[in-house]
Subunit: 374 residues, 2 copies
């Protein structure tokens, strides 16, 4: 795949970092800092409107809705909020429709701004609600989980799940701004922090071998929630994602590498029922499988695959998938969005720091599944 | 509103007419002719794929699905079809979700092409399904009603209804091609032909006074289904729509004039319950009210309003709305997508052949409603 070079890493600034997503008239900034939610200047320059709606969930809402409401008060005459149930199993049409119903009950017009306050589920659903309400209203991402800060809130992928497949119904729809307030990670359960680290680790093998080395050196600091380490991890992850998305907004090619570990991971999530494993946990285990597949395809050596797998294990992520049977894994992977003409295509690594897409012989895939399931 | 000049009218060619929609990398052609559905060359150059899905309804499907299937067979390995229930009351999430479920059951990938075979409801739903399935797959409009040919299939507005508002959930998403086969109008019930004429008549007052004159001269031929007259009406309507949409794809300004008659019309449809009146009937009556409102605002003289109203009446369209009470009309119009900050905005005419958007004093609106309801 033709691509420009990844911008070099730079140390995190003392204050707020700014990563630009360059998409022409859909460009926007990612702000990464501390205490951003308490500060109206964080939201300066965003669209003003009569009404705004904060979409959050029952876990995050009680912690941060009032802070956000105060910070955006200068922009809107009325700031409404709605709390959806918390969890991947609610990333569905009934929950999305609650947002539409609320907007219509409040006679919200098409200048209404939506704010996504929460993790990946809230971000994906709020973005899709914004894409569809009156055929499109502005929205702002305020991700409060590590996973959402480094991955789902950036790049404009929005969706809900269908009982037959994850993220099958959605849109490419870009936010006006992404606000990553590192302070919100203080309230994140450790299990969710680890799930977020899976998406951070992802960026090393697919795009930046040096970042993989940095993660190996700094994993203990990240697990101990060292603020400066977390801030750098979010900043570098967003830089890499911005570089990929800026070249391929709608996943015609390069962008698919961001799905490293996701094909196996989606099969785990769908096979167990959404919500059993966290998305990041499934991706962590999926990256183990995809690293092994890359080695079996001869794209990286076994030592490199083992290095990736060791880091995932050190991060406390699951490295063995549930025993669904190889047939079920393969069946579930065939409805993956990257499949074409019935052939499942995998994101593979090789050499370290570069990724590509390819199909794989059925027998190899079965070997990988057998090796890495209980 | 700043705008380039409307291209001059040209006579309909003997064969197939071609109207280009110029939207950069989302440009496409509208083909207008006879026997297009039977002819594989109609579809030449469209995306090839493993699977395609014809989305139609229980009325249109039995008449045309097999013809379309034969014509597009060279492009796809497998052409599936799904018949949805017929009617505006089924333009909702459960029907849309039937399309998603079918696609997922068939493991349809993201190169799958959807074909919308039917009227405005099928076109709007299929377009929205294409916009959302795996975040976007290609689709082709094959409108089989006059209304869909001159209006809803052109310009990329897609949507479903919400119980609290018509077309509230949707997307701007452009088709790959629009195929208007005049032969399909042979099977169109007269009531639906008249409803389609409402949207044809619309283009005169808002954009082309000369076309209004042509319609006055040729209405009898149109009502008698003269093929050449119908073909010219469709061609000129599409030219005007293409000119408007080419300047304002996402309705930031000018495009709103295409909603002439629709603010009052939506109130009629929503107030009676969708499906009671046909959309075109409600628009016809809405244009009567909006013409009168334009005159009461001093934007056109009474004689001009009467001229528009007379043509709508001659076309056999309703000119008096249901007696919902002025309060209910006003309440229903406040959730119209053109409303801003709670103020309902109307498309008004003045001078004849030009339109604009504005609010209106409550008392004037109430007078208009009182005058034109039973």
């Amino acid at each position: 795949m033709a691509s420009t070079h990844l911008p070099p890493a730079s140390p995190a600034p003392a204050g707020t970092a700014n990563v630009a997503i360059d998409l022409g008239d859909r460009s926007y900034d990612i702000l990464i800092g501390e205490g951003l939610l308490d500060d109206p200047t964080t939201f300066a320059g965003l669209p003003k409107s009569t009404k705004a709606l904060i979409v959050t969930n029952t876990t995050v809402g009680p912690l941060y809705t009032e802070k956000l409401r105060a910070a955006i008060a200068p922009l809107h005459k009325q700031v409404l909020d709605i709390e959806l149930p918390d969890g991947e199993q609610y990333k569905d049409w009934p929950a999305l429709n609650q947002v539409f119903t609320r907007l219509l009950e409040e006679a919200a017009d098409r200048k209404t701004v939506l704010y996504a306050l929460g993790g990946g589920v809230i971000g994906d659903m709020t973005g899709f609600a914004a894409a569809c309400y009156m055929r499109g209203v502005p929205f702002v991402q305020v991700p409060t989980t590590l996973l959402a800060q480094v991955d789902s809130s950036v790049g404009g992928k929005t969706a809900i799940n269908h009982p037959a497949g994850k993220n099958m119904i959605g849109a490419f729809y870009q936010p006006q701004r992404v606000v990553c307030d590192m302070s919100t990670l203080d309230t994140l359960p450790q299990r969710e922090l680890l799930a977020g680290l899976a998406e951070v680790i992802k960026y090393g093998p697919i795009a930046d071998a040096a970042f993989l080395g940095w993660l190996e050196d700094n994993l203990d600091a990240l697990l101990a929630r060292d603020r400066q380490a977390l801030k750098y991890a979010v900043q570098r992850s967003c830089q890499i994602k911005a570089w990929v998305v800026g070249q391929d907004e709608k996943e015609a090619g390069l962008r698919a590498i961001l799905n490293y570990g996701h094909t196996f991971g989606h099969a785990i999530e769908a096979g167990l029922g959404y919500g059993e494993w966290l998305h990041g946990e499934a991706v962590g285990c999926g990256m183990v499988m995809a690293a092994d597949l890359s080695a079996r395809l001869g794209l990286i050596d076994t030592a490199t695959a083992d290095r990736i797998i060791a880091l995932i294990k050190r991060a406390g992520l699951p490295t063995r998938g549930p025993d669904l049977g190889a047939d079920r894994y393969i069946e579930l992977m065939q409805v993956d969005k990257k499949a074409e003409g019935g052939e499942t295509r995998f994101v593979v690594i090789g050499p370290l720091g570069q990724a590509g897409m390819r199909g794989a012989p059925d027998a190899l895939v079965r070997d990988v599944i057998a090796t890495h399931t209980r």
